[in-house]
């Protein structure tokens, strides 16, 4: 049997959970405003992670790195904040269509910053996945409104975290 790849399993797990969060967030946003919901979830997340990491060495050192602060700003605050705020002003279909730009934007940034050029097979795989996202968006019409700009902003900062 082929050996299992731990990082790929970890990414799969994250994506599986993220795939379920839209329904939960959508329902929760009827009971709490976007900032209350976003801050609430990250108070819980920070409490859990800091509790688990409390005996690890390097926590206070890591908190002082500017690049970690930037990771928090882009990967957490802007990404989740803009997404939640954007969904109030645009349609879910527009948000789904905009998600199609994420993989290619990430690879382009990786190519520019990390000089990780995708090979031919990888490029085909990326194009297939992007086409898949467009189809999953299912004929949604791209509305360029305030919400779309906010969601696009959220998706644009995500590649920076890589």
């Amino acid at each position: 049997m082929a050996s299992v790849n731990a990082p790929v399993l970890a990414l799969s797990g994250a994506v599986m959970v993220w795939g379920t969060t839209f329904v939960v967030s959508d329902n929760a946003l009827r009971m709490a405003s976007p900032a209350v919901l976003t801050v609430g979830r990250f108070i819980v997340a920070a409490a859990v992670l800091l509790f688990l990491a409390r005996h690890r060495s390097g926590l206070s050192r890591a908190i002082r790195f500017w690049s970690v602060a930037l990771l928090g700003l882009t990967g957490v605050s802007l990404n989740y904040g803009l997404q939640n705020a954007g969904l109030l002003y645009t349609t879910a279909g527009t948000a789904a269509l905009l998600q199609a730009v994420l993989p290619i934007a990430t690879v382009l940034l990786g190519w520019i910053w990390l000089t990780e050029r995708p090979g031919g097979v990888s490029a085909v795989g990326l194009l297939l996945s992007t086409a898949g996202v467009v189809l999953v968006a299912g004929g949604a019409i791209l509305r360029l409104d305030l919400g779309a700009l906010l969601v696009l902003g959220a998706f644009s900062v995500m590649p920076c975290t890589q």
Binding site: V17, A47, A62, I63, P118, G132
Partner: protein, 128 residues
């Protein structure tokens, strides 16, 4: 940025990132309160949702993504982002939403593309 910190303890990196993320979210919360836009209707459903979103969808995924994305080529991490809407559709279909041929084909394409990218970069991925 994750690449730059790939030698860091994953749990420490995720916890520090989450803490900074929370700090940067606070001005938005303050703005909602000051402008009277903040609202909260606490009931069991909301508490359950916030616990799920906090523990699993934020803390858990931050940990998993930090671990995975620091150990694979950018192309592999990137292609996983395309799977999010596909998983969302699959979940909706499993919970009763009517199947749509185009969206189902989209799911298959997104999955096929992901598998192709993973298969093209096997040597750079550590094995369990």
């Amino acid at each position: 940025m994750l690449r730059a910190r790939r030698d860091e303890d994953v749990l420490v990196l995720a916890a520090a990132t989450c803490l900074w993320g929370l700090m940067f979210l606070l001005p938005w919360q303050l703005w909602e309160i000051v402008t009277g836009r903040a609202s909260l209707h606490v009931d069991a459903a909301l508490v359950t949702a916030i616990l799920y979103l906090g523990v699993l969808a934020s803390g858990g995924t931050l940990l998993l993504w930090t671990y995975g994305a620091t150990r694979v080529p950018v192309t592999v991490a990137a292609v996983f982002l395309a799977l999010i809407p596909a998983v969302g559709y699959a979940v909706a279909a499993l919970t009763g939403e009517a199947l749509d041929l185009g969206k189902t084909i989209g799911c298959v394409l997104a999955l096929a593309g992901t598998l192709l990218v993973i298969a093209a970069a096997p040597s750079r991925l550590p094995k369990v």
